[in-house]
Amino acid sequence: KTSIHGFSPMPKKKSTGKPKPKPKGKAAKRTSSSSRSSPAKQVKRSDLDTSFDRWKAKGIEDGAADDQDTLQGGAFIALCEDLDIDVEDVALLVLAWKLQACHMQFTREDWSRVTTLGVSTVSDLKGQMDGLRRQLEQESTFTEVYNWVYHFARERPECKILDLETAVGYWQLLLKGRWNLLDEWCNWIQTEWKKAVTADVWKQLLVFTRLKGGLKSYDPCGSWPTVVDEFVEWHEAKQAKDAK
């Protein structure tokens, strides 16, 4: 089973609790971000930098293109291993949002923003994972992360819309437990509507899940996207049918 990120996860290794040994001898690559750092942190920063290199190498091993200075594909698997999180953990998405990363990749520039979390090593970052998860409990943060996922999930920058399968995967990931109609929505949109998802639809869906009063207070003449209108119509028809 391929994960929503579109690559097959490596078998999950049990967390041993020991931090990965810092590779010695690898010179820290001088990047624009590290040149901005204060001298005191320079040495420690290289841990994050070198980890980035390591993961990138793993990614290239797995088949990613090697012409860009980014983490993609298999690199994420390595990243998640080091952070001791599942590939499908929402914490990863929160991290992506914090890093302002798009198109299913972490550029080195994105990665340099990891310091805003107040970490200097990978093990620090690992300890932050719980904190990241908990940030989603705040409604406004959740909204921002949710909206950001649309940018992150579109693999090709030139493609302005998100393909349906990926969208459904992320909806399942983000909205599980937060919306009672999630499964119905995912089913319906894949079997009946079958088109790709625009940014507007993505954003409006979250608003829709938070609609107070549920479907009864839904206004079909309101400014909801037509896909939502059709979903509500279908849902009502189904309920009428089930009631019989």
Binding site: K160, D200, K203, Q204, S223, P225, T226
Partner: protein, 755 residues
Amino acid sequence: MSSNTSTFAFSSSGLAPDRATAIWGALRKAIQLVFDGRASSLRFEELYRSSYSLVLHKHGAMLYDGTVALITEQLKKVSRVVVAAPKETLLDVVVNEWNNHKVVMVMIRDILMYMDKTYCKQEKKVPVYDMGLLLFQNHVVRNGSVSIKLRSVLLENIFNERHGEIVDRVLLKNCLSMLVDVAVYNHKVYQQVFEEEFLKHTRNFYAQESQDFISRNTVPDYLVKVEKRLQEEEQRAAAYLDKTTHAKLKAVLHEELIAKYAERLVADERSGAVPMFQADSIANMRRMYALFSRVPSTLDCLRASLGALVRETGTNIVRDQENVKNPTLFVQQVLDCRAKFHSFVVQSFNEDRSFARTLKDGLEHFINLDSRAAQYLSLYIDEMLKKGLKGITEDEVELRLGNVMSIFRYLQDKDVFEDFYKQHLAGRLLSGQSASADVEKAMIAKLKAECGHQFTSRLEGMFKDMELSKQVMEHFTKWKGQLVQSSSSTLSSIVSTVTMSNRDAVAAAKATADTELNVTVLTTGFWPIPVVPDCVLPQPAEQCAKMFADFYMNRHSGRRLTWQTNLGTAELRCKFARGRKELVVHTYQMCILMMYNKGDKFTFAELRDATNIPDAELQRHLLSLAHPKIKVLRKTPNTKSIADDHTFAYNMKYTSKLFRVKIRLLSAAAAKVEPKKVPASVIEARKNRVEASIVRVMKSRKTLDHSNLVAEVLKQLTSRFTVKPAFIKKRIESLIEREYLERDKDDRRQYNYLA
């Protein structure tokens, strides 16, 4: 006041009681004389002064009470007379006594006027005249059986009059006004004694009469009777009923005669509203409308009946199978339907607005039942213009166009009509079938006046194209002619306008000298013509085409010419065994036939490859040529279907009575226009128009909420076509995606314009 020699001397200090009594006694006698009708022997002044002095000396009470007693006595006598009167003369007697009494009372009032003005006022007593009336009321009218008898006589009279007998109206009037006056100008007595019963009586009378009549007569007859009865009653009321009764009587009549039966009258199957409409009984309907107007609520069911009938008639027209095949018939029937009901509205319903609107709604309903109406309307004009306008006067033409426009106004989806009209017009122009350019232009002018110039800009463009093409052809022919006849000295000046070398130009011109070419240049946006792949033209045609293309491109650089090989005709001179013939054929057929300059027989596959004509068209054209009735080509095997290996041979033995033969083309399988659906091309056009409208609105408003935006857009488009709000919503979404609009960050119902 000066005293004079009179027997009634008085002193200023007062009147002795016995003096007063004496005076009163004298007065009493005088009054009695008045009662007896012997007032002429009395002297008014004396009497007046007597009463004056009595009142002055504070004997007003005696005077007043005494008078009252007197009158009462008198009236008791009167009432005995009245009671004793038999029915036949009761009214006479009563009125007589009443008149007498009034006269008496006037006299008494005059005599006692001073008392009225001073004593009565001070003591707040009823003035003497009015008192007299009240007394009459109490002692005569209300005397036991008098009122009852009176009532019954009155009602009997009225009953008889209603049955056509003549009664003494003056008498009745006087009697009734007595009843009013007798209560000192209020109507209580009148109402109690007469009016209440009268109304009840009337109601019963007409309830009975109407029921009887209606069950035995037709609706129009009933209406006539009601009209008559109403007139009668109005006359009667004016003649002798008190004014206050008029309105109440009317109410009763309207209810019993009209309101009660309104629905039944309208719904009556044999002679009700529907049969009246169908039989064009304008006068009857007018009467019905006039009567119903008296009770406005009854107009509702009449109006509903009109609406239902219009819809039913119209729906039948739309569904009629005959009309499906014959557009002219359809349009004519719709026009007739409209004219028929319109004349009712004008002549019977007095141009009542609500009725006019009901008619309009009904017409709109069935005309828009399916999009065939739009199509047929266009076909109607098409036929009219194709078949020619011989024998039809200009006025008649104007009338017909006007009729067409009146139906056009009822169309909801005007752009569907535009689409069809475009197609038909294109057909007419290109095949030269239009009988009169003037009429065409008149029609377009009318459409423009109705819908604005945007609607007709493309149609006008088509006309312009035709005219321009003619001019271009003239220049081309002249130019070509010059080339052919050119001498070398004039060559360079002519040829410099074209991008060919001198020699090529002349060669081309000479080579194509005996091929006549006629080109019509069409502007792509105006004409509803699909794009077709180029077919391979035979050599002479190809040369001509190239020549023209070069000529044209030079005059108008920056334009692109594409040959529409699916249109156009060619005239071929063909050699047959029995002589030459001229065949008028379609372009594709020309390509096919010219092949036979190179060989006698070809397979279908060969023809296809050589000419590059699309399959379906190739089949159609080949079959037309190989058709048993035509047989310019011989098909082996001689079946209707075509396979790749079927062969077509040139038929040298072809004959025809005519020298110039027009080869008829088998009609293409007509694109099935689903009657209910709007054609796809129109839907596409609508999408664009809606989007343009949304952008226009948003550009001017900068920010607007969803429901207002939808409302504005609908308003802008409603004159052209109707769409559902959901359609507009989809367009909004599309525009959001393309970043023409955005949702407001704070209010998700709000949209902002993105410049």
